[in-house]
Symmetry: C2
Subunit: 297 residues, 2 copies
């Protein structure tokens, strides 16, 4: 019962997040088809993990949470752009996402490329014009630009290779995921924290939240790899999932399932230890870490 | 002789522009293949019209010019991203650009998509970390984000249609090009001007440079359309060029060649009138307008 109750708490900001995304995806001057394509991709459910992280990181840093809505939305636009471009025939060639045709199947490949581009730009427009006025807009923009750049680097390494020579498999995995998934999760948390008015311990708080973010960012991917194995096991009786079938490096593939499970526990402990000094302000972040470590996809 | 001499003056900052682009396209953490792809596209010649405009607009607003180098480079990264994505098979499907294979022909379609994305992000990283320190970074970012968004809108209208209903052909043409080409030329000039330390007449100066930019932005496209017709005429003996053959709206197609030529003169006069109040500070912008109105591709 506890988990169910806490889980509701953690996702309490979801309606505000959705309303913000809905409002910010309307563009009075955009071609109707482009706006429709952006909204098709952006408003298709999803866990909104990144805006939710931004909200709770804002609270953990002494804010109300709602000051983070624009920052969280900007990160979600970037996340969504990355899904749309990654799904393209030339990259992952995926036809379905969240049970619906991917954008290039729905609206054509040209529109999918341009809608992905438009979402990237909208993210920066959102931050440049973000409210409330006290937000450190330039710092937010810098965080998002560097994180998105890193995300693209991770995507290149993951799909096209070219990793630095001489890396062990585990180091390669970490480099890929620290960039591909971790950088944007880190940015979500740091940007959320930056949206709170800075208190006397702002620097220490930001450092704690950053360490938390790095731990859960990696944990997110490790859990994902584990789910790929265990869900396949449930459905097909095989121990290996689609990532391993596709020849991709995965944590269970390199470490084995048991050590990978221990790795999740270690990362969780690292995340929770990092935010201990924040006391009750960090309670929602702690709960979110719990939810992320036990998610079932 | 006069034009040749002046033309050299106008392009005097080119070496500085190229050196800046060279330096800013090296990314210590990027995958080597990605860096190579970005540099292949970015460092392939080109007139560097946008950074040159930024430089001279900076001078016109009382600056030295060199304060605009980061801003001009950011605009050029965006311009280059737009060329790479527009060339993709799903959009314009072009195999050659400036006499070399387009990026997707050279490095594959996945890399071209991701390199385009990376260039967009680099543009914002450049502005977020731009030097010198006095630059109004947030304003520069806002200008570039809105202009790039508008550019994508123009590209959607131009390649996928969906223009607002009831527009006359000339209005449609203007709407497409004000967005597709004009917005980034406008941003080049405004961003260059914003890089100068603001003097007592900063607002009036910015307004004058903006009016200049709007006029030359449209003129650029009108001249382009004229060249398409006249160059075809020279080479093939036909009066219509590839745009008209492709069924695209063009200024000569709508207005006829003679009225289109008059249109260029009117736009040139409008641009020159706009910057008259700036006196000698605007001399290079005036010269650049002259060069742009008589270019031969």
């Amino acid at each position: 019962m506890k988990t169910e109750h806490s889980c509701q708490d953690v996702y309490a900001p979801l309606a505000r997040v959705e309303a913000t995304l809905d409002a910010l995806s309307r563009h009075p001057h955009a071609p109707a088809g482009l706006e429709g394509a952006v909204r098709y991709s952006l408003l298709s459910g999803g866990k909104r993990l990144r805006p939710i992280l931004a909200w709770h990181a804002c609270v953990a840093a002494g804010g109300q949470g709602e000051e983070s809505l624009y920052a969280g939305a900007a990160v979600e636009f970037i996340h969504c752009f990355s899904l749309v471009h990654d799904d393209l025939p030339a990259i992952d060639n995926d036809d379905l996402r969240r049970g619906r045709p991917t954008l290039h199947k729905h609206a054509g490949e040209a529109m999918a490329i341009l809608a992905g581009d438009a979402m990237t730009l909208t993210a920066f427009e959102i931050l440049a014009d973000a409210r409330p006025a006290h937000l450190p807009k330039l710092e937010l923009i810098r965080e998002l630009a560097h994180a998105t750049s890193a995300m693209i680097h991770g995507q290149v390494w993951d799909t096209l290779g070219g990793l630095p020579a001489g890396l062990a498999p585990l180091e390669s995995l970490r480099l890929i995921h620290r960039n591909k998934t971790g950088a944007l999760i880190r940015a979500s948390c740091r940007m959320g924290a930056l949206c709170a008015r800075p208190g006397p311990n702002a620097e220490t708080t930001l450092a704690a939240i950053t360490r938390y973010a790095d731990a859960i960012g990696l944990m997110f991917q490790v859990v994902d790899d584990l789910l790929d194995v265990t869900q396949s096991a449930e459905h097909t009786g095989k121990r290996t999932g689609k990532d391993i079938d596709a020849g991709k490096l995965t944590f269970p593939g390199v470490l084995g399932v048991e050590i990978t499970r221990e790795h999740v526990e270690l990362l969780k402990r690292d995340a929770l230890t990092a935010i201990e000094p924040l006391g009750t302000a960090g309670a929602s972040l702690a709960e979110l870490c719990e939810v992320m470590s036990t998610r079932t996809k």
